[in-house]
């Protein structure tokens, strides 16, 4: 792991649901909205697919922050998967905080297929937030 020295930039793992947020990220691209290049996207069928364990695993393996983004409430392609996800991450966030992980490392958002700009803003915000927190070293296995 690099230290938070000069030139350090965070690496952020984003789980985007296939139907809304991934499409929103595509629209950001089509509209050429610029956002920081610190994010790596993993496409999942639904935000409900994201196991809390994946988040912990990411923090163990050197990712500095995680973004999980799904459809807006009511828009879920799978009816209610996003609501399941929301409940799950509210709990996880508390738990991580208990471990001493800053809550800002785990981010949850709703981005629809028409919200390219919102996606770009979300990424910017998350990158800023994680940048200010510095590298996530607490859970990293050495």
């Amino acid at each position: 792991m690099e230290s938070a020295g000069e030139g350090w930039t965070p690496k952020i793992l984003a789980f985007l649901c296939n139907w809304c947020s991934y499409a929103g990220a595509d629209l950001a691209g089509i509209s050429r909205m610029q956002y920081p290049p610190n994010i790596r996207v993993v496409r999942v069928p639904c935000s409900g697919r994201v196991n809390p364990y994946f988040v912990i695993k990411a923090l163990q393996h050197g990712w500095d922050g995680v973004l999980v983004s799904g459809c807006h409430p009511g828009d879920c392609h799978y009816i209610s998967g996003n609501l399941v996800a929301r409940r799950r991450f509210a709990v996880l966030k508390d738990l991580l905080e208990y471990f001493g992980i800053e809550p800002g490392r785990l981010n949850f958002s709703w981005v629809s297929a028409a919200e390219g700009e919102k996606f770009a803003i979300v990424v910017k915000d998350v990158v800023e937030k994680v940048k200010s927190l510095g590298p996530a070293e607490r859970l990293v296995k050495r």
Binding site: C20, D26, S31, P36, P37, R40, G48, V50
Partner: protein, 1013 residues
């Protein structure tokens, strides 16, 4: 039943259908037909399909993002093997006969090759000629070479020849060599068995109402313009800004009925959708910018649809949208600020004036000249407004046999009704052509799949330049070099366009040459391109799931234009992550399920019978289960329609037809005891008396209907002069109707209250109908209709106008001051004393009624909840069945193979019930016409050794796809592969990692996560 169709020799019929209009209606018709064995030509005059829905920001009453729900349908249509999309095309003439038409189609030149254009947009970036962006309603500009919107299908640019100066720059910059200036107009002839008209309607030209200042004042916009203003992909990126100075308007006025209910502009009908869409726009505006204060100026609030009143109430209570009942006289601009002063007359006759920052005109819809010309070319008769002429019992048939109609072209309607009619029109075409089903459809043949089990992964990586879209930012060659260093990567190369047809050949050859058993494409979005590449590897003998895609364009090169180095690093990371997953992926099977070619219809009313007969006409066996001893349901109580059709005669015909049909088996006095199984394979237990009957069904249609509310208001039942509207109808139908002096009708009895918060939709039309009948029989009868809002939507408005002309007196009452009825003596006889507060004169009005008629609510049958549990489908708070999606899946349930129609869904009229019944059949036919259906490959699986049967997975599954099964080794969760959609909520919930999702396994996702370094 009068058959409108000529007998046609079956041998001459053609198994293809032409659908005119590529809006949501046309798309739905096309998909339904293509899925049930017909070749479809989908013609649209625009350069893309999608219609008006593509321009909308959100949709009511769910506030769904319009594009999110539309775009998968667009993609499906564009890719369907048996849907041929013909854009820039218009139908110019028709000849031949029902079942075998020749239709001539004129295609305007597009000047861009549909096969070659990749939609990268480089041409538009350089094009020197600007034009007004008509898709964005003139709020901004576009270039002469353009696409209407980024999600367009086909995603192919088009040159606006009117504007283009022919400079040639687009051809110089196009790397796909797609620009063809030599493109010429072409006329082709299509041979089709039937035609479906779904051309939609045009927005009312607001300039015709000059008193509102549209076109003169910049801050007066139409509702469609406002949709674009609200849209996140609109000109202002979803910020609500006003055109004069870009400021966020604080006070917004919505003026209703602009170009609707207005004889002065020729549109005396109601446009049906404006009350709801403007409320939605007000709510969404408020959601976008909280400082906005919207006000809606209206005459009657026509929120007559399912869950619409709830939406209006939420708008009032949660969002603070202000509703003002009034008539608008004028809009004037305030100099300097360019604000607008709205002058209006309130209900009690006071003149008021108020200043607003922005005025939105809720414009109605009208048939365009273009559409009228189309009707002329096809020989289809129009009514006085220019809509297609239809009859209530044949809502989908034009005057010309073999040509069917859906959507706005028969009358203004909203998206779900359009979609319903579109499916229904598809069913009509299917009935006509069922003998030639499957004769013209293509089926693709693939080589046998190679068995790659046990082989080490041999990965091929194809990195796309996308012209310069990727290569201009990301160092593609270095990404390729990097990919070669990754484990198990046998081959890596770059392509100018990985999606082009020549590259598909390269991929196939490389699979053979290098013995690849996993393929990765690093290019654009899998949402649009994954199926293409999966198809390619399938053609090379690989299982389609041995494919992985990573997006280095939309989510890399395009969003990091100014940082090529970081973008290249990111692209390498993305490729490494894709390789990490690809090493873990396995071939997946799609489970094939057999289909029982028999349908079950629950309910023998109008909807149920129509559904049964339609299914039988399509060639399928049907069982109809009716709880009463007679067929007919609610319709038995209705004697005639507003249009003077004899309902009872139609009902008799229907019962005769259904009884005579050999494919239909009717179970009277029967009920459903149990339903188990899943799509294609339901097992139903029917009880008839003491007998239990077991039947197999492929699909289930729920048509349990509605019932008349029995009021306990207004002393109903205590006096023979107090009756319900249906009882009055029955009395009118008797030949010896005695002379009636004063008849008072009270609307909304049992509707729109705490017990039944919904609108029963049909009662306003029903009382107008009966009032007109009474006036017709005895013109000196005084008819008073006491109402809350008159909801004579669509063309029914005309009858409301006629009723007023005939002297029927309409008095509004407020919810909080309902009319009171007391018995009193007047001139020696006992009369019913009706007192109501009239808000226009601000006084109580007293009427001595000889007859008091209650317009009672339609309520759902109590058995709905039992049936819902049995079928595992939801019902809403009001007790009606809840469809899978309020907008685009109005007759489907989330559970595949089960459909809903008629009043079981919500109160509705005869034509609407018929359309919905046929729509349910159309949807059912896309399953019943198949011998096997393929289930999803990406589904959940259970490891029984780990499962503790805690049932958590069951609780989160929205599809009821998980059950707990008793095995020898104890209880364990079991996934029904036919029902599972693969969302993964169960896997992520499971406490002991017993459930996993094929294609997105824990291992695969973890390997991506750990590929960080």
């Amino acid at each position: 039943m009068v058959s409108l169709q000529n007998p046609v020799s079956e041998v001459n019929k053609v198994g293809s259908v032409l659908v005119i209009g590529g809006g949501i209606g046309g798309i739905q018709s096309a998909l339904d037909l293509a899925e049930s064995g017909f070749k479809v030509y989908l013609v649209d005059k625009s350069s893309t399909i999608g219609g008006v829905m593509a321009q909308l920001d959100k949709t009511f009453p769910t506030n769904d993002c319009s594009m999110c729900i539309l775009s998968p349908k667009l993609v499906e249509c564009g890719r369907h093997l048996n849907v041929e999309v013909l854009t820039c095309s218009e139908v110019t003439g028709i000849s031949g006969e029902v079942g075998n038409f020749s239709v001539s189609v004129r295609r305007r030149p597009r000047y861009v090759d549909i096969e070659k254009c990749t939609g990268c947009g480089l041409c538009a970036k350089f094009c020197p000629v600007e034009a007004i962006d008509t898709f964005n309603k003139g709020l901004c500009d576009r270039t002469a070479i353009h696409i209407n919107y980024p999600q367009a299908v086909p995603l192919v640019y088009m040159i606006d020849k009117e504007k283009c100066i022919g400079c040639g720059l687009c051809r110089s910059v196009c790397l796909a060599d797609a620009i063809t200036y030599s493109d010429k107009e072409k006329v082709t002839t299509l041979n089709v068995g039937a035609v479906i008209l779904a051309p939609g309607a045009e927005e009312f030209n607001a300039k015709l109402k000059s008193e509102y200042g549209y076109g003169r004042y910049p801050n007066v916009v139409t509702s469609i313009e406002f949709e674009r203003i609200l849209s996140a992909s609109g000109p202002f990126s979803g910020r609500v800004q006003r055109p004069s100075d870009g400021d966020i308007p604080k006070k917004i006025a919505f003026l209703q009925c602009v170009g609707s209910r207005d004889v002065t502009c020729g549109n005396s009908y109601c446009s049906s959708v404006c009350c709801m869409y403007s409320t939605k726009e007000a709510v969404i505006a408020k959601e976008h910018m909280n400082q906005i204060e919207p006000t809606i100026f209206y005459i009657d609030m026509r929120s007559y649809g399912k869950d619409f009143d709830k939406y209006i109430n939420r708008a009032k209570e949660e969002y603070g949208v202000r509703f003002v009942r009034c008539r608008i006289s004028k809009v004037k601009e305030v100099p300097n600020t360019q604000n607008l002063r709205v002058k209006y007359e309130t209900e009690d006759g006071r003149l008021s004036e108020e200043e607003f920052d922005l005025v939105v005109l809720s414009i109605g819809f009208t048939p365009s000249e273009n559409i009228k010309q189309l009707a002329k070319n096809l020989g289809v008769e129009l009514n006085e407004y220019g809509f297609s002429k239809i009859q209530p019992f044949y809502p989908l048939e034009t005057s010309k046999p073999g040509i069917f109609v859906c959507g706005m072209f028969s009358s203004p309607k909203d998206i779900p009704e359009t979609v319903t009619q579109a499916s229904a029109a598809a069913a009509k075409a299917g009935e006509l052509l069922s003998s030639v089903r499957g004769t013209l459809v293509k089926k693709k043949e693939y080589p046998d799949e190679m068995d790659v089990r046990g082989q080490p992964p041999r990965i091929g990586v194809f990195v796309c330049h996308c012209g310069i879209n990727i290569g201009g930012v990301v160092g593609v060659p270095s990404v390729v070099d990097y990919a070669r260093t990754l484990p198990n990567v046998i081959h890596a190369c770059d392509n100018l366009y990985t999606c082009s047809s020549d590259t598909q050949e390269i991929i196939k050859n490389n699979i053979k040459e290098y013995g690849l058993n996993r393929v990765i494409v690093a290019s654009c979005s899998p949402r649009t391109h994954e199926p293409l590449f999966q198809e390619t590897i399938k053609e090379a003998g690989l299982n389609r799931y041995l494919f992985e895609m990573t997006n280095i364009r939309d989510q890399c090169s395009w969003v990091h234009l100014h940082d090529p180095e970081a973008a290249t690093e990111k692209a390498k990371d993305l490729v490494r992550m894709a390789v990490a997953k690809a090493r873990m992926i396995e071939p997946l099977e799609r489970l094939s399920l057999g289909v029982t070619h028999r349908g079950l219809v629950i309910g023998g009313g109008l909807a149920g019978m129509t559904a049964a007969l339609t299914l039988a006409k399509q060639g399928f066996e049907v069982d109809v289960v009716e709880k009463n001893q007679e067929l007919g349901g609610f319709l038995r109580k209705i004697h005639h329609t507003l249009e003077h059709e004899n309902t009872q005669e139609n009902l008799r015909n229907l019962v005769e037809n259904i009884s005579a049909n050999k494919l239909i088996q009717i179970f009277l006095n029967a009920k459903i005891e149990d339903v188990s199984g899943y799509v294609g394979n339901f097992k139903t237990t029917i009880t008839q008396g003491s007998e239990k009957i077991e039947r197999d069904h492929g699909i289930v249609i729920v048509a349990t209907g509605g019932e008349e509310y029995s009021p306990n208001e207004y002393q109903y039942g205590e006096d023979p002069r107090i009756m319900t509207q249906l009882e009055l109808e029955n009395r009118i139908a008797t030949p010896d109707l005695e002379k009636l002096g004063n008849v008072v009708m009270i609307q909304c009895v049992g509707s729109r209250n705490d017990e039944h918060p919904y609108c029963s939709r049909m009662c306003c039309g029903e009382s107008v109908k009966n009032a007109l009948k009474l006036k017709g029989k005895a013109p000196d009868t005084n008819v008073y209709i006491l109402y809350r809002d008159i909801r004579t939507y669509g063309l029914i408005e005309e009858h409301y106008r006629k009723a007023r002309e005939a002297g029927v007196i309409f008095i509004r009452y407020k919810e909080e001051s309902k009319p009171t009825v007391t018995k009193a003596l007047s001139e020696g006889k006992e009369v019913l004393h009706v007192s109501v507060f009239d808000p226009t004169i601000q006084e109580d009005i007293l009427i001595d009624a000889d007859l008091l008629v209650l317009s009672t609510a339609v309520v759902p049958p109590k058995e709905n909840s039992i049936l819902a549990k049995m079928l595992k489908v939801p019902i809403n708070e009001d007790g009606f069945f809840l469809e899978a999606h309020a907008k685009l899946r109005p007759v489907d349930f989330a559970t595949e193979g089960i459909f809903v129609c008629g009043m079981a869904h919500s109160p509705k009229s005869i034509d609407e019930s018929i359309a919905q019944a046929k729509a349910a059949v159309s949807r059912a036919c896309s399953l019943l016409t198949k011998d096997v259906i393929e289930a999803e490959g990406v589904i959940a699986t259970v490891n029984p050794n780990r499962c503790t049967s805690c049932e958590l997975c069951m609780q989160v599954c929205a599809y009821n796809a998980i059950e707990i099964e008793e095995t020898k080794r104890g209880k364990t969760a079991k996934v029904n592969s036919a029902l599972c959609k693969g969302c993964g909520a169960c896997a992520a919930t499971c406490r002991c990692s017993a459930i996993d999702i094929k294609g997105f396994t824990d291992m695969q996702l973890s390997s991506i996560i750990t590929a960080m370094r």
